[in-house]
């Protein structure tokens, strides 16, 4: 058993961190407008981040779930407004599992094509074609990716022209109507088994967990900097015990959330689907609950300034709220875990 990162993994994390710092909006005013594709997508391709879940035979360079988690945390920490999870992890993962054409997969890993998974309107699960949905993490997406109810095959659909007024300012969500037009994006492969879909969903959930860990860490870092600098009553507010304890509790939550995300990232490539899914749901339950706790603590630690549009705090809050909900928050996960655990065989 070894629950620590390798030197390469640490180096990968640092590399992605530098890229994320480059791509990070420095203030809410610096956020790309809704509908803007953000050209920096190519830089993720150059770094190999878009082919992480695409076979080498199709131009990808497979990396493990742990690396996905490390990259997603760094991108989340800088609220990078690019669809890494939606296109490079979820959509690419689904297409790779379905055996899509090398050409299509290569256009994803190279950054020429972006696809967004279509979730149902509760954001809780993948949508079937023909039901109203939401193209999730759809910035610059050429199409949404839904599942045909009968055949179990993937199908690309065109999101509605009207953009949703979703609360996340960094991750774009677009409406997909029940009558959404099918788009030809090439050979999307064959039918997906339930297991295959679940393994991709487990990794997607886990990547969202890592994104939430990044957001929590950013919220905590901002808070620590703020309370160290902000003076009231003649002292930095960070000297008050109530302030220190709030920050300390947030630190505990962030560490524990990170551990569960690492474990789930490892499990997705190493364990059977039911176990990988349990690991992902466990992480998602924890990260969803604690992401909200931590961002709420960060708002409190900042005081009034966090409630201004110009401050990054609300950008973090908004990303966390949508991340919580996507593929199920703690309420949904706990019910699912209850079902999984009570079905478990007892020796």
């Amino acid at each position: 058993m070894d629950a620590s990162l390798t030197d390469e993994q640490q180096a990968l994390r640092d590399t992605v961190a530098r890229l994320a710092a480059d791509l990070a909006p420095q203030s809410p005013a610096g956020l790309p407008p809704k509908g803007s594709a953000v050209a920096e997508w190519g830089r993720l391709a150059e770094m190999g981040l878009l082919g992480m879940r695409i076979p080498e035979s199709a131009g990808g360079m497979p990396l493990s779930g742990v690396e996905v988690v490390l990259a997603a945390e760094e991108l989340g920490k800088r609220v990078v407004p690019l669809p890494f999870i939606g296109s490079a992890i979820c959509a690419s993962g689904l297409l790779a599992a379905a055996g899509a054409s090398a050409e299509l997969l290569e256009s994803l890993s190279s950054g020429r094509t972006r696809l967004a998974p279509v979730l149902d309107r509760t954001l809780a699960r993948l949508a079937h074609r023909g039901e109203p949905g939401v193209a999730w993490d759809a910035r610059g997406a050429d199409a949404g990716l839904a599942i045909e109810r009968d055949s179990g095959r993937l199908v690309a659909v065109r999101p509605s022209a009207d953009r949703l007024n979703a609360v996340d300012l960094t991750r774009e969500l677009r409406a997909v109507e029940a009558s959404a037009e099918v788009v030809d994006i090439g050979d999307v492969g064959g039918a997906l088994s339930v297991d295959a879909v679940n393994r991709v969903l487990a990794l997607t959930m886990t990547a969202i967990c890592a994104d939430l860990v990044g957001v929590m860490q950013a919220a905590l870092d901002l808070s620590v900097a703020h309370v160290s600098a902000r003076v009231q009553f003649g002292v930095p507010v960070g000297t008050f015990q109530a302030v220190q304890h709030m920050a300390a509790e947030a630190q505990v939550s962030v560490e524990a959330a990170r551990g569960l995300a690492w474990y789930a990232g490892w499990a997705v490539d190493e364990l059977d689907v039911p176990e990988a899914l349990l690991a992902a749901r466990t992480a998602k339950a924890y990260c969803s609950e604690h992401a909200r706790e931590v961002i709420e603590a960060a708002l409190q630690l900042h005081g009034g300034v966090a409630f201004t549009w110009e401050h990054m705090a609300h950008v973090l809050v908004r990303r966390a709220l949508v991340g919580r909900q996507t593929l199920g928050d703690e309420h949904a996960q706990l019910d699912a875990i209850t079902a999984l655990r009570s079905a478990a065989a007892v020796p």
Binding site: G48, T239, Q244, A248
Partner: protein, 438 residues
């Protein structure tokens, strides 16, 4: 302009490719089914085997770890006592003592301690496996002396280690830890127990101890005490403190049991009235006591070092069995509480795995240990609240182990340093927040 991914990414990809080439990892295509043979049990602690060899993040057991796990599991199935732990204090202590000796004799105690001192010389991660299996088997708790043993391992002379560690690990010789005093709880540096150096021919020949310790666990059954006392007359705060290894049968030591809120008697007040011990019983250097105490507390706060994780797993396992049997309360706000407890426990287990992995190189717990203690406290308190809620009136109509566990869970935020102290440490020494008055 760069072409191709950066070396770090390429490095990870190469390793991942190698791993898949070796038939390890399951990936989307379900390779390597044959290696996943053991069924799930307990709290999800499914044994998993990984290849030996280069370092790599892997929550699965190495083949050696796996063998150890199976051996221990098999042994527990045969040897763990099935009877309930006695409630009466002396019977309870005797029962556990016998169990700990049995565990040692079978080779399961002192796993990460050097062989020459009675340990097994294994990597520290074996402690996690031991905790997993002990908890999953629902076995009685193991001995909780890891913090004392580590203090002796780290600060003792070779002679002291050889003399004390084997007996400690085997439970042949029983130890207690004399730290807290009536006036020195959270504020340990306020301790006033004196160990006056007694000189003979110009050298310190012995120490004469006067003062009072409180909350000394197992003191009534202990043979030795690891004692923190002020050895430099007139010293203040954390200066001038030393650690002495004190035989409990030394004249001038009086031990009075404390009856706890749940009626148990594992703690005592220990009174020292001029008890004299040989200077050879000094642990480390004179005045090094504070450093030793902090190091020891780092271990005491560790969820694995004194076996807490396994106890929580045991409780959860029992509750899950009761849930399947339909004997727990059905209210909607309780329906997901075992799932919640499972999530919290997993968070703690993974945290322990990460912490122990970071200690594989022999490093000792730092201020980050307070994070683990706080996480353990959350898990302990939410788990035992859930236990009380789910069992409803049952534990209220029969004053016994459940209430005791509940009280222990509340005391978890007090002993080994209150949660307030832990949060101070995390804020000031991990997050580097400014201190008041500086």
């Amino acid at each position: 302009m760069q072409s191709g991914p950066p070396p770090a990414v390429q490095g990870c990809a190469d390793r991942h490719a190698r791993r898949r080439g070796e038939g390890l990892g399951r990936g989307a295509r379900g390779e390597n089914q044959a290696r996943m043979v053991l069924s799930s049990r307990g709290t999800g602690a499914k044994p998993r085997i990984r290849s030996e060899g280069e370092h790599e993040m892997d929550f699965r057991d190495s083949p050696d770890e796996h063998d150890f796990r199976i051996r221990f599991r098999t042994w527990l199935a045969e040897h763990a006592p099935r009877e309930a732990i006695p409630v009466e204090p002396d019977a309870r202590a005797a029962f556990l003592h016998a169990w700990h000796r049995k565990l040692y004799a079978a080779g399961y105690i002192g796993l990460s301690f050097p062989v020459e001192y009675g340990g097994r010389g294994l990597p520290v991660t074996y402690e996690a496996i031991y905790n997993d299996e002990l908890g999953a088997a629902g076995a009685p708790p193991g001995p909780a002396f890891g913090h004392i043993a580590n203090a002796i391992r780290l600060y003792g002379s070779d002679e002291q280690k050889k003399r004390h560690l084997p007996g400690l690990l085997s439970s042949e010789i029983r130890w207690c830890q004399g730290f807290s005093e009536p006036g020195a709880g959270s504020d340990l540096a306020n301790l006033s127990t004196r160990a006056e150096p007694v000189e003979s021919n110009g050298v310190v020949a012995s120490y004469r101890i006067t003062g009072q310790k409180i909350w000394t666990s197992e003191a009534v059954w202990a043979d030795w005490c690891l004692l923190l006392a002020r050895s430099e007359p007139g010293s203040r705060r954390h200066h001038g403190i030393s650690v002495l290894l004190v035989p409990m049968r030394t004249p001038g030591i009086d031990c009075r049991p404390i009856v706890t809120a749940s009626g148990t008697r594992e703690f005592a007040e220990v009174f020292f009235d001029g008890a004299e011990v040989d200077a050879a019983n000094l642990l480390g250097e004179p005045g090094q006591g504070w450093a030793i105490a902090m190091s020891l507390l780092g271990y005491e706060r560790g969820p694995a070092d004194i076996g807490w994780v396994s106890r929580f797993a045991r409780t959860l396992r029992m509750l899950e069995d009761e849930a399947r049997a339909g004997t727990l309360r059905p209210e909607s706000t309780l329906r997901a509480s075992l799932a919640k407890a499972y999530v919290d426990l997993r968070a703690l287990q993974v945290q322990v795995q990460r912490t122990l992995s970071s200690r594989k190189d022999g490093s000792t717990p730092g201020p980050e240990g307070s994070i683990d203690k706080l996480l353990m406290t959350r898990t302990d308190q939410s788990l035992h609240r859930a236990m009380m809620d789910l069992r409803g009136a049952t534990p209220l109509l029969d004053d016994g182990l459940d209430l005791d566990l509940y009280f222990w869970s509340r005391a978890q935020s007090i002993f080994g340093g209150t949660s307030q102290i832990q949060r101070d440490i995390v804020a000031q020494r991990v997050l580097r927040l400014p201190r008041a008055g500086k």
